[in-house]
Symmetry: C2
């Protein structure tokens, strides 16, 4: 193997092991040439390969940096246990058809008019009632990811240095914010001693998923929530509360948006609890930031699709949303039981913490070597090597027939890897 | 009046006259205290008022800057000649209803599945055919504004210094890119001598609206287009070709995306030619940038509403889109004739250049003092005082009844102002 290729492999290994992390500068050509006892052009060739392969990027006049992963979720797998959206087959499409038909017949051309930038007033009203949230600071979004994107825009300056994340966390947020600071998650929320230490260091934003954390499935305890509120208040930090799947937790614990409305950006996906193609979500913004976010929304895509907003408005008002969620909850319980039975066959696997939602976060005693596994591996959710042996199995994306077959497929994969 | 208030008024006036422009640093407290022969705290109080009123903003450690305007288009005016979207009443809602019904009955749950990040493959196919564009580098967007937003993200570094705009231009782009550099528009495209001079100065992006320029309504001549292509090629600049309303120009001139595909980001709104609430658009990206834009799209809102994409796919395939556009073209011609007849009554008003599209750009010999005019005034489209006496009348947003009344209203407004 050519020398430059060996050096590139070594650097790639350091990136994968987390020795050089995304957003970090890697040592200069001069330093690496000294370390590997080779000529500078050899290191430069290694850099060229790493750049072509997407591992590093140059910043003009500043050197080479480890790139943030830009991974797009897979789709179209036969037995997909990696997607955390619900199967569309659970959705009451007939009801949807009736609502659309009624919309067109009653509203005519008005059905396709653009709502105000903040969202369709009726939808906002129904969301406020259903989720017990203030309507005057609500923005309807084109899905929850847009809420994160707007936050990244509004808080643009030094965001990478100023934002804190749970570890592990949702990868879409990590790349968007170019996350550098992480606080370890425990089974009832973030590790408080670490959080306290980090908040002292110029952190302005803290991104949290307190009800059904992604990927670990746990929820913050009441005590941890209150401790976080105290800390966040003291340091004047803004919480980004991503309410990932509170619909699927039994307890109605107060949210950060209830406990600390002046410092909480609350983000909620409606696609997550309905269907991946229904790209609507909403956020509740502290009053002092509302106009900034409203303009950021306007600047991002003017307004979210009016027709879908009208649909969701009717769907919630008619009670169909509540009925749908209740069916989904029963389905989750049934499937989870079957999946847990399967996983309990393998003594290397454990399910840490009290988990809710559409996924199970599984810890394996030893590293699993599986070519393209059907689930999402731990490295997607953390730069830290400690989650490499974990994985998230999302069990609600397959329809009923496929799910039964999928369980058999999971069993064969696990038997081969652990048997 | 308190001294600080006088000083604040004076600075506000300088901002409004364009002496201090958005994005520019205003003189320091020390300098202004010397200029106004007052104590520094007096200037500081003036700054505090200007900040509260949204005219200036502070950058930590750097001073005070004139803010970019964050204006959101008005809606809900009785006689709205400021909105450049078509009236929904022109849209074939019955046809839409049929398409939705067919979608639900034929596709069932599949109708609400999320398409791939780049867009529904069938829609991409039909867009490619209809607009004669390559499909392999196409991204479906949640409206054209999102295309600009993605470009601002992908080219983030030093964007304010690196991007060039026509003057006047679309205000949504100016604030998004924090635009500083402008090239004057003539009746057949940008002024070439100015363009040549500016491209030498580190410009990397040039935002253009060559077919129906917003707000002036003119289109680039073939000669100017070729001259722009030569210049842009020589300096390696990327063109952002915002195809605002080419559907409403008669000639089928080659676009920049045809002439220079490797350096053109082509952006197209579908809402613009259908209805403001149907938030779908698309872009064609040079191959070398495609993966970056695809990830930026994913990171912005994952994917655009699948159901709307399926609707547009059927609407174009069935020929309904083409029929709709042809009706709109006749309506534009009829309304434009009536509006021109009205405007010709006032010798102070003129319509410069050969204009197409849904608006008329009107030049007035003297400044018009009208409290909340029904059109969009020139200052929305330029920081330069030279367009203060111009305005854009968009004449396709009212339904037929309202339009007739609206013309009378326009007449009374103009009679009062000019009579």
């Amino acid at each position: 193997m050519a020398r430059f290729s060996e050096i590139a492999d070594e650097i790639e290994g350091r990136i994968q092991k987390g020795r050089y992390r995304p957003g970090e500068k890697i040592p200069s050509v001069r330093k690496l040439a000294a370390e590997f006892s080779c000529a500078k052009p050899t290191v430069q060739r290694a850099f060229a390969r790493l750049k072509a392969d997407g591992f590093i990027e140059n910043k003009v006049g500043s050197g080479s940096y480890v790139r943030f992963p830009e991974r797009i979720g897979r789709t179209g797998e036969v037995y997909d246990f990696s997607t955390d959206y619900l199967s569309e087959s659970f959705f009451p499409v007939d009801r949807m058809r009736t609502i659309f038909d009624r919309l067109f017949s009653r509203q005519g051309a008005h059905a396709i008019a653009a709502p105000p930038v903040a969202g369709d007033p009726e939808l906002i009203l129904h969301l406020g009632r259903y989720y017990r949230l203030p309507t005057d600071r609500m923005l309807v979004l084109s899905g929850a990811q847009q809420g994160l994107d707007l936050a990244a825009k509004v808080f643009a300056a030094r965001i990478s240095e100023a934002a804190l994340f749970e570890d592990p966390t949702y990868p879409g947020a990590v790349t968007l914010f170019r996350a550098k600071h992480f606080v370890p998650m425990e089974e009832d929320g973030p590790k408080l001693s670490a959080l306290r230490r980090m908040l002292k260091d110029g952190i302005r934003l803290f991104y949290v998923m307190p009800s059904v954390h992604n990927p670990t499935g746990v929820s913050y305890s009441r005590e941890k929530k209150e401790a976080v509120v105290d800390l966040v208040k003291r340091f004047g930090v803004i919480l980004i509360e991503d309410d990932y799947q509170s619909e699927f937790v039994s307890s109605a614990a107060p949210r950060f948006v209830d406990l600390l409305p002046g410092q909480t950006l609350y983000i909620k996906s409606l696609a997550q609890a309905t269907a991946s193609g229904l790209r609507i979500g909403f956020m509740v913004v502290p009053e002092s930031l509302f106009e900034k976010f409203r303009y950021a929304k306007y600047s991002a895509d003017v307004v979210s699709a009016g027709l879908l907003q009208k649909f969701f408005s009717a769907f919630i008002r008619d009670g169909a949303y509540g009925e749908h969620l209740s069916t989904v909850r029963s389905r989750i319980a049934r499937r989870k039981k079957r999946l847990l039975t399967l996983l309990s066959r393998y003594r290397e696997l454990s399910i840490p913490g009290a988990q809710s939602g559409c996924s199970l976060w599984v810890e394996c005693k030893r590293p699993l070597k599986i070519q393209s596994p059907p689930w999402t591996t731990g490295d997607h959710f953390s730069f830290s090597p400690s989650f490499r042996h974990c994985f998230r199995i999302s069990f609600m994306n397959l329809d009923d027939d496929r799910f039964a077959e999928g369980l058999n497929y999971l069993r064969s994969v696990l038997d081969t890897a652990l048997g």
